[in-house]
Every structure is written in structure tokens, then in C-alpha cells.
């Protein structure tokens, strides 16, 4: 029996706003993160990931408040990423209510932190995110700071090291695909999933349900992290009411437009699709009772 795939909405947060970029670039505001989180929780999300997108620019993670607010009444695992540098940072975020933390820049600069953190907080608490960009020769290299800084480290050797150091899971992000809706990078995901024995979460490029199926079947992902596909669906339903006076460019929201690169989809639609494709996940088919017979 195959294990259940997890659908993990990823919320990029800047200050008080939820933003959505392309290639991990751009700060288009789509709304308020708490509202998206609640919507996804009610809709059957398996976990939620919060990413502080400007944390590495300022060397700090500012999500503690929203983490606490969320963890108080959303009872599914919450992973927090962005600007987490030290063991103290990890402890603070966990105390604030997070279940897992994800490291990228800190892990690459100082790999030992993975080892120390997983010893101190438990392997399963420590996730490592790898931002991969494909070079002209076909090799994938790891980047940091939201796909900004070249590290010279090849993804394949890095993932193996990450596992060795004791990380519990890996998120593999294709920066080339992220936000484009052009589909996951199957080659990249498969390469990573086959190289390690810890769970691999695919991220970057989901445009439609079929993309999710592909990255699970061919990419061998254990879970998928999705943003655009879900966010642009939630945005459709909403009326612009919130306060953006402090910061946030809402020109896009004012137009009421969508983003045609992705099919706005609900979590339930994704899960139902996976179910019929024989990909198990946390989903119950709505069976209709037929008179006189048992299900």
C-alpha cells in the first residue's frame, strides 16, 4: 500500500501581507495570510508552510506573531521558513507555535547547524529547502536568499549531505519554474527523491492538477508544496476589503484579474483528482448511499 501524499499550501509573507512572486521575485500582494491559512485549513490542507520572503535581506524572521495566531486555532502542522539562522531562532519560532522550521541559507553557509538542530530539536523538526537553478550544462546548482546568491554547490551532492547531517525532510524548489505554472521540474525532483531516504517535498511550477500527478508519479515526490494555483483561486472569491495602508502594492488586486499561467484550483479538487488517479492522499470520497445496500 502506497503512502499518502501531502498537499502543502505555501504562503509567502512580507510584513502583514501575503505575496506571490515568479522565480522567487516580485511582491504582488494577494491578501492577508491568516485568511488564506484558514481557508486552506478548512479546505483540507495537510500542512501549511509560512515563508518570510524578505527575512534573508534583513537577517531576521518576523513571523512569530502570525505563527502564534495561526497555531492557536489551525490544528495541522505548520512549517516556518525564512531568515532562520541560529539554534535560538529555531527555538523561538517553535515556541511561538511552529512545528517545523526550514533552513536554506544558514544550512549552506554552515552545514553543521543541520546536525546540531536535528539533535537538539529532533530530525523531523528540521526541514532543509534547496533552491535549485539549472545551468546551461544541465546541472542544478543550489542558490540562497530567494534564488539570489550563487553558491557553487551542486544540488545532487548537497542533498545527500543534508540527509547525512540529519535533516528530516527536504523541500526541493525549482526557481526556474516557480510561479510560472509551467509544471514542476520532474527531472530535478526525481533526481533528489531517488538520492535520499528522507521525504522530499516538490515545489515550484504547479499549474494544474496533472502537474501534481506527474511530480508524484514520475518525480517520485512524497509531498507537494503549492502556491499560485491555490492562491489565485482564493483571490477569485474575495472582495477587496482589508487594510493595506502600511505597505503593499495592491494594483493587481484592484483589477480583479487572475493569472492565466495557472489553473486556479481548490484543494478538494486536487485531492479528488488524485484519488481517481489512484494516488492515495487524505481524502474521503463522498459516497452516496444506495437504498437497500451497504457501501
Amino acid at each position: 500500500m502506497s503512502k499518502n501524499i501531502r498537499i502543502i499550501p505555501r504562503l509567502d509573507i512580507k510584513g502583514p501581507n501575503l505575496v506571490k512572486g515568479v522565480h522567487l521575485e516580485g511582491l504582488r500582494v494577494l491578501g492577508k495570510p491568516e485568511q488564506f491559512a484558514r481557508y486552506y485549513y478548512e479546505a483540507g490542507a495537510d500542512e501549511i508552510m509560512y515563508v518570510d520572503v524578505v527575512a534573508s535581506l534583513y537577517n531576521r524572521n518576523s513571523l512569530k506573531d502570525i505563527v502564534t495566531k495561526t497555531a492557536k486555532n489551525i490544528f495541522i502542522p505548520l512549517t516556518v521558513a525564512g531568515g532562520i539562522r541560529t539554534l535560538d531562532d529555531i527555538r523561538d519560532i517553535l515556541r511561538a507555535g511552529a512545528d517545523k522550521v526550514s533552513l536554506n541559507t544558514a544550512a549552506i553557509k554552515q552545514p553543521e547547524i543541520i546536525k546540531e538542530a536535528s539533535r537538539k530539536f529532533g530530525s523531523s523538526t528540521i526541514v532543509v529547502t534547496i533552491e535549485a537553478i539549472k545551468h546551461n550544462d544541465g546541472r542544478y546548482f543550489a542558490y540562497t536568499d530567494n534564488g539570489r546568491e550563487y553558491t557553487g554547490i551542486e544540488v545532487l551532492s548537497w542533498v545527500k549531505k543534508v540527509e547525512e547531517l540529519g535533516a528530516g525532510e527536504i523541500v526541493i524548489t525549482s526557481v526556474d519554474r516557480e510561479g510560472t505554472g509551467l509544471g514542476f521540474d520532474i527531472v530535478l525532483t526525481q533526481m533528489v527523491a531517488m538520492a535520499v531516504s528522507i521525504p522530499v517535498i516538490a515545489h515550484g511550477g504547479a499549474g494544474c492538477k496533472e502537474d501534481i500527478k506527474s511530480v508524484i508519479r514520475e518525480g517520485k515526490a512524497d509531498a507537494v508544496s503549492i502556491s499560485s494555483m491555490l492562491h489565485y483561486e482564493f483571490v477569485k472569491e474575495r472582495v477587496l476589503m482589508d487594510d493595506y495602508s502600511k505597505e503593499g502594492n495592491i494594483e493587481f488586486l484592484k483589477t480583479g484579474r487572475g493569472f492565466s499561467k495557472t489553473n486556479p484550483t481548490k484543494i478538494s479538487e486536487i485531492k479528488e483528482y488524485l484519488y481517481w488517479e489512484n494516488i492515495p492522499c487524505r481524502y474521503e470520497i463522498q459516497r452516496k448511499e444506495v437504498h437497500g445496500s451497504q457501501k
Binding site: D46, A71, R95, T125, D222
Partner: protein, 228 residues
Amino acid sequence: MAAKSEGEVAIIDYQAGNLFSVQHACITVGLHCRIISSPNEILNACALILPGVGAFGDAMNNLRTLDLIQPLKDFASSGRPFLGICLGMQLLFSESEEFGNVKGLDIVEGRVIRFPEQNEKRKKVKIPHIGWNRIYIPKYNKSWNGTILDHIKDGEFMYFVHSFYVSPQNINQILSLTNYEGIEFCSAIIKENIFATQFHPEKSAKEGIKIFRNWAAIVKKNKESWLL
């Protein structure tokens, strides 16, 4: 000698993971709880939760350093409600395979075993087991009525994250079973006043909160009988 209960649920803090969600799950279902780490405070609690995430060996060391081992055993035998979650459940057992055999609290007889790297069909097993999985009523159990799994559907999804699982000596103590990559394992136990789950009910959405609600009812009933 059992002291008069103060009416609070003790959540044990032994530096093994996050207590925030457990605490908030309790608050959500109306349980007054307090995070404690000293033996004295345990004696006065009306019920106890032993949560936890991380390494078995380190956890036992912490419990030892905090002088909590005997108080926990005493509480378990006091008949007051005791809830173990994840690592908290594993610690109840006699011994764990982790890092060469480490002794546990020995409150429940049995061992703690690591998931194999390959299953019987030689398929690679990803460890830890992370994600949602179904819990089932074991064939030899009639139902979950009156337990913390009351009104939970047979086959309901719960959230798991672990690399080891428990193997109780007494199969009648197995409350639920779960299957991961072809390996069937015990995902919840029941022993008199002790309930424990491998999965995290505080991370299992609304059905998980239902489990807390069930346990809160048990705690309430138990308190009332104490006060009589």
C-alpha cells in the same frame, strides 16, 4: 499517597519538543492546563499529558535529570488520566532500539522498534514516516466507545511523524493499528487510565481535536469521581 487534585491538567515539559499546540488543543476543548517540569507539581494534577518529539535516549536523560521518572510512574499507577503523545507514548514502554537499547519508563510492557529501510516487498521505506495515515480498529477489539477514539471513524486520517513504533507485549492494549508501506504497527494504546497515540491529535485537524474533547470528558468524569 494521592494528594487532592487541584483540577489542572499537567503538560510535562522535558525539553523534548513543542508544547504550544498541545496546550492550545487543551484550551480549545476547555481543559485548564499548566506546563510543568517539576515532580511536586505533578502530584497535584488531575490528569497528565506526556507529549514529545525527538530522541528516546535524550528524552530519558532529561526525565532523569528532572527527577520525573518516579513521579510519572506513580501518576500512571494512581488511576488518574494519563495521555501520551508520539515520543511520549514510546517512553512509556520498556525499552527502545534507538542507539543501542535504552530503557524506558516501563509503564507498558513492550519494545520500541525502528522502521526498516525496506519493506517485505523490498520497496524503499522513507523514514521518518511523515504525513497523514489511517487508524483502524484492530480485529480483536470491539469498538472505540468510551475511549479517546470515541466517535472517530474507523479508518480516519491522523498526522504521524516518527521513525520508531511501539510493539506492546499485550495485544489487548493495542487501541488502533496503522499501515505504513506494508508495515502494520500499533498507532494507539490503552491500558486502564493510560491512553497514548503515536500520531499527533493536536495536529490532526478537527478529528484530532475530537480526540482531545473525548479525553477531556474522561478527565472530567474522573475528577468528579475523585471529588466524591
